[in-house]
């Protein structure tokens, strides 16, 4: 770990000025960044601690909920409004990491967390995400945890967040501040696919700060479920996870939201599968059809062929839970 500076500005303006300089890095809960610094994967010269900014609140927005970037994962998961309006988000958060980590982790930090690909973490191995053009260790290496959707030959890593899978399904919007002002970005456009530039995880510019996410009101609260399949019951990343939300009227599906985790370089929203569900009865036949559509275009590597089967199994299982059939 090399020597670095640490500052804790009190205003958004001073944070924005600080992060505009090269070599700086925002730190929130530190639960991902400090780990990466210890491993020598990231080595910023200066940490800009944003914890003095007033971004911790969870407040009603115009039509929905506004969740500050510094709200803690545990705080959001247990928030009354969140549990009432968006139980899916609460479930997804509680499926992530451990209680201790959720007490440190923030919404912004969670969104920005980096892949857990072992080749990214080990500085003795090749990794295009860590060092562009050094090669992808995972492509022909140990790739049990890796992507089946949207990967490239440069990178087959997956994005590990559970929270973000729910936010992608819930049509959330990201509020971003830059020196030139604020902008809004659909959550599903926040993260990106690796393509030829896997070193770039998402569409947040280096000199920008996440202020909040906003989730619009919906009719899914009654029928939503987050199912995470993993190697142990807690404190493990998803092999495959599914966020499922249904709006059911008299046994017929009026609307559906579906997203997968553990399968791509970003939360994998399944819009085609969602469409296939609309107007259908909430039963296994509809869910199986949706799962089949969802898996179109999936591609497995040496160790992760099981995801081609686990994917649809998890989708149908999550939908059944959401529909209250199990």
């Amino acid at each position: 770990m090399k020597q670095f500076q640490y500052i804790r500005p009190a205003t958004q303006q001073s944070v924005l000025e600080a992060i505009a300089k090269p070599g700086t890095q925002i730190i929130a809960g530190g639960s991902n960044l400090v780990d990466l610094m210890k491993h020598g994967v990231m080595s910023p010269d200066k940490l800009v601690d944003i914890n003095k900014l007033p971004l911790r609140g969870i407040t009603p927005a115009k039509s929905g909920l506004h969740i500050g970037a510094l709200a803690l994962n545990s705080q959001v998961a247990e928030d009354k409004q969140v549990k009432e309006k968006f139980p899916l988000l609460s479930m997804a958060l509680n499926a992530g990491a451990s209680a201790q980590l959720r007490n440190m982790a923030t919404v912004g930090g969670n969104m920005m967390q980096r892949t857990r690909c072992p080749y990214f973490y080990d500085t003795s191995m090749p990794c295009n995400k860590r060092i562009p053009n050094s090669g992808c260790g995972a492509l022909e290496g140990f790739n049990r945890m890796h992507a089946i959707f949207g990967a490239s030959d440069k990178c087959i890593a997956v994005y590990p967040s559970d929270m973000s899978v729910a936010l992608a399904a819930l049509d959330a919007t990201v509020l971003i501040a830059g020196r030139k002002g604020q902008r809004r970005l659909p959550f599903t456009d926040f993260h990106r696919l690796p393509g030829n530039t896997p070193e770039i995880d998402n569409n947040l510019a280096k000199d920008q700060l996440i202020l909040a996410v906003e989730i619009p009101d919906n009719n899914y609260a009654k029928h939503s479920y987050y199912l995470k399949v993993r190697d142990r019951a807690s404190y493990a990343f998803a092999l495959v996870s599914v966020a499922a939300a249904l709006d059911i009227d008299n046994g017929t599906i009026r609307g559906a939201r579906l997203a997968m985790g553990g399968v791509a370089h970003k939360p994998w929203r399944l819009t085609e599968a969602e469409k296939s569900l609309v107007g259908k009865p909430a039963n296994m036949a509809s869910f199986e059809q949706a799962a089949q559509i969802a898996m179109q275009g999936a591609k497995a590597y040496k160790d992760n062929a099981f995801k081609l089967q686990l994917g649809p199994a998890t989708i149908t299982e999550a939908l059944q839970h959401a529909a209250g059939l199990v």
Binding site: M1, K2, Q3, R116, Y119, S124, R232, L239
Partner: protein
């Protein structure tokens, strides 16, 4: 709060006393090796190789040497020659016989992660940073770390215990009316105790060194350091007051311990060296990858006719590590014809070592799975098959067992878990969308008694001081020994007994391991306390009461204290018996038919290990072993990318052990019948049997739930789903 209230000592000790060091452990007062801080402390950190085989062409340490706070950088180019390193023992001898890797003696690289340099600096952070600046160039050679692909390179080890075994005509399994042959695979497993390996070394004179070390045996560490530095053993003082779990990884003295002592000599200041979690994977052993094959046959009514059990296990290229993987098959069941074959496969890794239930934990997964498979083929209850083939005497040598109550253990466990609810036909029970199954597996481990010396002293303030060098690796040795002393001394108050351990200057006890300590040290504590009582009777002379007031006696006789030092070991009568501890594990699992997720929903572990000296710590032992066995069955695997020869999951996020949410309530039952042939308490060890047989029990339950037979550990959801 008063001490008595905290200790919660019951009036009679039938439930067992609380851990004597429990309060220290939960309040942080317990001091582990890495927590000893000496004035002028310095810190040593390794830089390690990122190639797997070859040699160091050049190594650039300049930047590290000039980094802030750095006192010394040691490499093979400047390391002092240790006098004892010249007298290397025969490398073909079994693990402890051949020396482990010697650091910084030449430029050769034998495995990935091997230390190539050691930085000593005035802070841990500065040493870590400086170590990151070291750059080496290598001449690479082609390496092989893939044991699975090297099964044909297996060779019979040189030690006599590991030559092929044969009785009767083992091939009889082939002609048996019911038979099967199956292969089982156990991956590399890493001990990963909470406490990292750590040592603080300090030279107090030119020829005297003190160390605070994480070790399971202060005496063996003392000897290893004395040998390396050619010192009289008494000039090496080793202290190990607490151990935060070890499971075998501190059974021998590893290179980092010698390196820290060397560093302290070089910088003439105390040195602390703590391995990183990642380094643990390459530095302090692991349970070796092992391929096994069991061929087994029986008559139509279930009488075994022949078994062949074969194992091939990973070792390093420079040391032959061996363990008794196949040995239990020779005596576990009454079978006229048995063959065992054990081979090792040298690959470019560091040497494996014993890990909880060494050998048998691996072997029992194969044997106890095969027995279950055979029962399924016979359409027979697996307990019934075991009872039919119960060995009344030891089939390997014809000797009677010192005691064996497994039939009773089967019954106790079956009753407790509700074995009657198990359907012999797999996949026949569903509950809330989950398949439900039951399985069992049994374990066995030698119950020997070794030699130990114990000093017992009655002090003028009526404190009974018991001293011996043994370490407590977390199992509760101090508690069990206190309880034994109390019992011998007619229920002497626990509060007045002090058990002092973990110090090489105390009377010698063996290394903590192999389920020997309760029997060995307990036996010596028993004998020392008995002798001290007798000494008191002599001092008092005629008319002494049963329960004298010891302090008063000392005062009256004008004695500062009264003590004895007793060395004792097993009786020669023991040679006429086979002595083993037995366990039987029962589990209920729920398996998700679509996702392959396995939930262990009930566990009952029964131990047949003689009289239970300390029920509370015994229960903890069994619970810990059961959890270890569940991890072994479902999660644990050290994964190496063989292209690079490097681990890809060398941390606790990637290397999975069970978390609380994976573990149901665990019921522990004890047959609790004393075996006085082994020692005067009638107690036998139970550290190993707690895990041995558990992995098979889980795999067998998964079969019962799903009809899927999984023969490769760990049984992760993908394997269940794809089977």
């Amino acid at each position: 709060m008063k001490e008595e209230q905290l200790l919660n000592i019951p009036g009679d000790y039938t439930d067992g006393i609380d851990r004597v060091d429990g309060r220290q452990k939960v309040t942080g007062a317990a001091k582990y090796s890495a927590e000893f801080n000496l004035p002028g402390m310095t810190y040593a950190v390794f830089a390690t190789s990122n190639i797997t085989k070859g040699s160091i062409k050049s190594i650039d340490t300049k930047a590290a040497e000039h980094a802030p706070g750095v006192l010394k950088v040691v490499t093979h180019l400047n390391a002092p020659k240790l006098p004892g390193y010249e007298t290397g023992k025969d490398p073909s001898k079994p693990a402890t016989g051949g020396g482990p890797l010697k650091l910084f003696v030449d430029n050769s690289i034998k495995f990935n992660g091997q230390p190539i340099a050691m930085v000593v600096a005035d802070s841990f952070e500065r040493a870590t940073f400086a170590a990151s600046l070291i750059k080496a160039e290598y001449t690479k050679e082609a390496h092989n770390t893939d044991t699975a692909k090297s099964l044909d390179k297996a060779a019979t080890p040189k030690g006599p215990r590991f030559s092929d075994y044969k009785r009767g005509n083992p091939d009889d399994w082939k002609t048996a009316p019911v038979n099967l042959e199956a292969e089982y695979i156990l991956p590399t497993e890493v001990h990963n105790p909470m406490e990292l390996s750590a040592i603080v070394a300090n030279w107090t004179a030119a020829d005297k060194v003190e160390v605070y070390d994480k070790t399971q045996g202060v005496k063996s560490t003392q000897n290893a350091i004395a040998q390396a530095f050619k010192l009289p053993p008494e000039n090496v003082h080793v202290t190990t007051k607490f151990v935060g779990g070890a499971f075998g990884n501190a059974l021998r003295t590893w290179p980092h311990e010698i390196a820290a002592v060397m560093a302290a000599q070089l910088v003439k200041r105390p040195v602390k060296l703590v391995l990183t979690r990642e380094q643990q994977f390459n530095s302090v052993g692991y349970r070796p990858y092992t391929w096994q094959k069991v061929s087994i046959g029986a008559t139509a009514d279930g009488k075994l006719t022949g078994i062949i059990h074969e194992a091939r296990a990973q070792t390093s290229t420079f040391e032959e590590f061996t363990e008794g993987t196949v040995n239990m098959t020779r005596f576990m069941y009454a079978c006229p014809s048995v063959g065992t074959i054990y081979k090792v496969i040298p690959v470019d890794v560091n040497t494996p070592t014993w890990m909880r239930g060494p050998g048998e934990a691996t072997g029992s997964f194969a044997l106890e799975s095969a027995i279950d498979e055979l029962a399924a083929k016979l359409n027979m209850d697996p307990i019934e098959l075991r009872v039919i083939n119960h060995a009344d005497t030891d089939p390997e040598n014809g000797k009677p067992f010192s005691s064996k109550n497994v039939k009773e253990a089967y019954q106790m466990g079956a009753d407790k878990i509700g074995w009657k609810n198990r359907k012999n036909k797999p996949g026949s029970v569903q509950e809330g969308g989950w398949l439900v199954g039951y399985g069992m597996g049994s374990g066995v481990f030698g119950a020997g008694r070794g030699r130990a010396t114990v000093r017992a002293t009655m002090q003028s303030n009526s404190t009974l001081l018991i001293q011996t060098s043994v370490t407590d690796i977390g199992v509760g040795t101090g508690t069990a020994m206190t309880q034994i002393a109390s019992e011998v001394f007619d229920n002497y108050p626990i509060k007045k007994i002090v058990f002092e351990l973990g110090d090489s200057s105390l009377p010698p006890s063996p290394t903590q391991g192999g389920s020997m300590i309760t029997s060995t040290v307990g036996g010596a504590v028993h004998d020392a306390c008995t002798a001290l009582k007798q000494k008191f009777q002599q001092v008092i002379g005629n008319g002494g009461t049963d329960k004298p007031d010891y302090a008063k006696v000392l005062k009256e006789k004008n004695l500062p204290q009264l003590d004895v030092e007793i060395t004792s070991s097993g009786s020669s009568e023991m040679r006429n018996y086979s002595a083993y501890s037995h366990s039987v594990h029962f589990v209920q699992v729920k398996v998700h038919p679509k996702t392959g997720v396995v939930k262990v929903s009930k566990v009952v572990s029964v131990a047949d290990s003689g009289h239970i000296v300390s029920p509370k710590t015994a229960r903890s032992q069994i619970v810990g072993g059961a959890i270890g066995g569940i991890g072994m069955a479902l999660m644990e695997e050290g994964v190496i990318d063989h292209r690079y020869g490097r681990y890809v999951n060398a941390d606790l996020a990637g290397y999975h052990v069970p978390v609380h949410a994976d573990i149901p309530q665990i019921d522990t039952l004890f047959v609790n019948k004393p075996d006085f042939k082994v020692n005067p308490m009638g107690a036998k060890g139970m550290g190993e049997i707690a895990i041995i047989g558990m992995a098979a029990a889980v795999a067998n339950a998964i079969y019962n739930a799903t009809g899927k037979r999984l023969r490769e550990l760990p049984i992760t959801p993908d394997k269940v789903m794809m089977a």
